[in-house]
């Protein structure tokens, strides 16, 4: 067993456990913390995949910015305890759980069926991956990159406008 494998299994266990905690814990603050944990886990997994730049961005954007946003909103509302964390309805609940189970089963089954247990040998990364990434991003995908910038601007304006409104769907006053 190589160090890679050990690392993967540990990280996979942590990430999956953290993800489950996000969904299962009733306190949203704990959910948020677990989500941070998941993000960090995935970031570490990115590192094992030699995607250092993406791993860094993952940490900064998700674990940093997005999660701060979540926690701030949570703090804003002061939501500590939820009486009903899950939806009611036994029938629909059963259906939902069943659907989720089937979905995961199907996807995993499909993956295993298509590749079996054989592993595809990894293609060795050539040279400095971050540099290559930057070159592609600012040449081939420049338009997408710029469009994303515009999108973020629009979203920023939209989010501010939405939060400033009086709220509610039938606001009249």
């Amino acid at each position: 067993m190589t160090a890679d494998a050990v690392l993967f299994w540990i990280l996979a266990a942590i990430t999956l456990a953290a993800a489950l905690t996000v969904v299962l814990v009733t306190n949203p603050v704990y959910s948020a913390l677990s989500l941070v944990m998941t993000m960090v886990g995935i970031s570490a997994l990115f590192v094992t995949l030699n995607a250092y730049f993406i791993a860094g961005v993952q940490l900064i954007v998700y674990a940093g910015a997005v999660m701060v946003l979540f926690v701030m909103v949570l703090m804003l509302f002061d939501l500590k305890h939820e009486l009903q964390a899950f939806t009611q309805g036994k029938v629909s609940g059963a259906i939902k759980i069943g659907v989720v189970g089937m979905l995961s089963g199907l996807i995993v089954g499909a993956i295993l069926m298509s590749s079996g247990t054989s592993t595809v040998p990894a293609v060795a990364a050539e040279g400095d991956q971050t540099k290559a990434l930057g070159k592609i991003l600012f040449s081939q995908y420049l338009f997408g990159f710029e469009a994303l910038g515009v999108l973020l601007l629009v979203v920023a304006v939209g989010a501010v406008a939405l939060s400033r409104s009086k709220g509610g769907t039938h606001a009249k006053h």
Binding site: L45, T119, L162
Partner: protein, 108 residues
Amino acid sequence: MPSIDFVTQVGLTHYLVLSALIFSVGVAGVLLRKNAIVLLMSVELMLNSVNLTFVAFSKYSGKLEGNIMVFFVMTIAAAEAAVGLALVVSIFKRFKEVNIRFFEHLKG
């Protein structure tokens, strides 16, 4: 039966299966939780699992486009979180709660 190779030889399949499992957890969260913020978190989970898939494919196919995609997805996810949270704030202002069922009023 998973052979010993499956445990020791970590490859693309492992990452994909892990990603699928995280995705399913995210779906479960979206379907089952009532708190709108937790719902958004579950959506983030799903997006992250997909990111993991992209990076894994990128590594095992040797193409950098996967990483570019992840970059884009992250940005979109951040935007989505911002808008979603703004909506949650609106709902909270109106109903003093962030239960997803208040979105039912959107059906008119």
